[in-house]
């Protein structure tokens, strides 16, 4: 029995040694990339996101209208050669506004997610690294933020701070960092007792150096996954607030505020309501697919 087990583990060891040169210098990120490429919907999601980013950046080259150019003689025009998606109630070209709205929505999504990720990593990192009372205080703050009904508070906050892109980004990121903080804290508790952390400390590294050079890079996978999903969530929230009239204010176009008036004209010009919502839906769906693919590639056990 003992022989058999030894034999088996010996064979496994031999096999893994034999397999080693093939895997060669493939690092964590290379393995992740190889797994990611197999996730077809994630690739589709990433492509759609890149496409929308490109159309947002190159908007001025893709249309001959300005986003705030009104043409009162051609209001609510049906789609035609000169206005491929028609015009809205003020005679704005809908296609043009969709492109420029993409700038706002994607900027809000990315910056809010980035701010939330940085904030969450800081809080979670410090909390898990120092432990004790600091951990206790920071985690109770996290609990409090989790228990506050986010959407109603967002609606109130957006009323004071909304209107500007910066205000919306701030409001959204304040309510999006808690998940990341909890994930990073968990990883810190595990990582800080490991040998490489002790080794760095023995070499005289400062707390900040150990935390940010040695520990945090090892906890980036969940931050990346949670961050990707947050981009989608932030775009959805911004669209909702703008739809209610307390987010991005016209004439600056956002996919949400383009839908604000579209409902009133559903009996006469239903197509006005279709495109902005379809753009939000496709973008958020793409980010969710991308996040799912990243999770499977980086760490399938992650519960983000």
């Amino acid at each position: 029995m003992t022989d058999l087990r030894q034999g088996a583990s010996g064979a496994v060891l031999a096999a893994s040694l034999a397999a080693r040169p093939e895997v060669g210098g493939e690092g964590y990120w290379q393995i992740a990339w190889r797994r990611f490429k197999k996730h077809r919907v994630a690739i589709v999601g990433a492509s759609v996101i890149l496409l929308f980013m490109a159309t947002a950046v190159f908007a001025p080259f893709l249309t001959r209208y300005e986003f705030d150019q009104i043409d009162l003689y051609r209001r609510k025009a049906v789609p035609s050669f000169s206005h491929p998606l028609g015009t809205d109630e003020l005679g704005h070209d809908v296609f043009t506004r969709l492109l420029y709205a993409g700038r706002i929505s994607l900027t809000v999504g990315f910056t809010a997610a980035l701010t939330a990720a940085v904030l969450g990593t800081l809080v979670g990192g410090i909390s898990g690294f120092y432990g004790r009372w600091l951990d206790n205080v920071l985690m109770r703050v996290t609990d409090v933020m989790f228990s506050i009904p986010a959407l109603p508070v967002l609606i109130v906050l957006a009323r004071y701070m909304g209107g500007s892109v910066l205000g919306i980004v701030l409001v959204l990121s304040v309510f999006a960092w808690m998940g990341t903080a909890r994930l990073v804290r968990g990883d810190m508790l595990r990582l800080r007792t490991q040998d490489f952390a002790d080794a760095a400390r023995a070499l005289g590294a400062s707390d900040a150096r150990i935390l940010f050079r040695h520990l945090v890079p090892n906890a980036l996978a969940p931050v990346l996954v949670a961050g990707t999903l947050t981009v989608g969530g932030a775009i959805l929230s911004e669209a909702g607030l703008s739809f209610l009239g307390i987010g991005i204010q016209p004439p600056t176009p956002s996919w949400g505020n383009m839908l604000q008036n579209a409902q009133d004209f559903i009996w006469t010009t239903p197509w006005l309501a279709v495109w902005p919502g379809a753009m939000i839906f496709l973008t958020v769906l793409s980010f969710n697919f991308l996040g799912d693919g990243l999770r499977d590639a980086l760490d399938p056990r992650l519960k983000v």
């Binding site: 609990d143 409090v144 009904p149 109603p152 609606i155 989608g232 959805l236 559903i266 309501a273 919502g277």
Partner: protein
């Protein structure tokens, strides 16, 4: 269990204090207190009146005193007075919560009735066409903007409905929004009439619930059927149906109970976006209207009420988890 409960209740104290401070500051720090707003609407008010009114309403006192007074009043059921509706916030709240439940309860039940069987089948047949279909569907549900979905449903079922040309399907259309038809007699006829108005918004809401419930049921079931005790049950030779029903399902549904308990406060909060799209006079719509009108006492009351529910149902979720899962020993 009693000691666990006591400890959990004690842990809630700092949480409740923290949340109430944040909610208070959120609205106390709002630019323009009620007197400033009054001034805005009435040019005849003198500077003396302003001082007198601010003193009368205690607005000239430091923040911490105002906080204590606010908490004291809230504990006595006084959530303030609505400037725009001219009624106490609490009575407004009760009326609107009832309206919201008209939408939320059917949406919640439809979602559960679909999500649990779909999630379980999806997990039992992992990687089957049904599983892929269900997973795709949850992604759609989690990514679709509720208000846009609502507008599309209104277009399809209230504006276009091309199928009503067929006599057999002539009934398949719904109102574009609202709460009741005009001129319906009070009492039972009102409720029967309202069902017609509930269908579309309830469907929109249920899709959102459904997506996350399906996801949780599936992942929880997947976790359970990989356990050793399931293999043991199968090895004993019991029928697959018994294994699933008696051994797997009962364990897999425990996490779902938590999720459901945690989502109940959401039922009361209404859905600001869906209610706005469908013109439903629920609590979500009330919040949006109050915020747009600068009636912050109402907003503050709603948020406080919801935060209270969230805390209470958090506790309930934890306790039910401990009761349902004998593996968990808290004391």
């Amino acid at each position: 269990m009693t000691s666990y409960l006591t400890r959990r209740l004690l842990q809630m104290v700092p949480l409740v204090i923290g949340i109430s401070i944040i909610i208070f500051l959120l609205l106390a720090a709002a630019p323009g207190d009620p007197v400033d707003l009054l001034l805005f609407g009435n040019p005849h008010i003198t500077a003396d009146d302003v001082v007198r009114l601010k003193h009368l309403y205690g607005l000239d006192q430091p923040l911490h005193i105002r906080y204590v007074k606010w908490v004291w009043a809230a504990l006595h059921g006084d959530l303030g007075y609505s400037r725009t509706y001219k009624v106490p916030v609490l009575s407004l709240l009760w009326e609107r919560v009832g309206n919201s439940l008209w939408l939320q309860v059917p949406a919640f039940l439809i979602a559960l009735a679909v999500a649990v069987p779909v999630g379980i089948t999806s997990a039992l047949r992992q990687y089957s066409a049904l599983d892929y279909g269900a997973t795709f569907f949850t992604f759609f549900g989690l990514s679709i903007p509720a208000f846009w979905f609502g507008i599309m449903m209104i277009y399809i079922f209230a504006v276009a409905h091309p199928w009503t040309a067929l006599p057999a399907l002539a009934w398949l259309k719904f109102p574009a929004g609202g709460f009741n038809s005009p001129g319906v007699a009070a009492g039972l006829p009102t409720y029967v009439d309202r069902v017609h108005y509930v269908v579309l918004p309830a469907l929109v809401l249920s899709l959102l619930f459904m997506a996350s419930y399906t996801r949780y049921t599936r992942s929880s079931m997947l976790e359970v059927i990989r356990q050793d005790y399931i293999r043991t049950a199968r090895a004993k030779g019991i029928s697959e149906l018994t294994v699933i029903n008696r051994h797997a399902l009962r364990n897999a549904l425990i996490p779902l109970v938590t999720i459901v308990a945690l989502s109940i406060p959401g039922l009361f909060s209404g859905a600001p976006l869906t209610e706005t799209v469908f013109g439903w006079p629920g609590i979500g719509r009330l919040l949006v209207d109050a915020v747009l009108a600068g009636d912050f006492a109402v907003a503050q009351g709603i948020i406080l009420f919801l935060a209270g529910l969230v805390i209470a149902f958090n506790l309930l979720a934890d306790v039910s988890y401990a009761l349902l899962d004998p593996r968990i020993r808290y004391d």
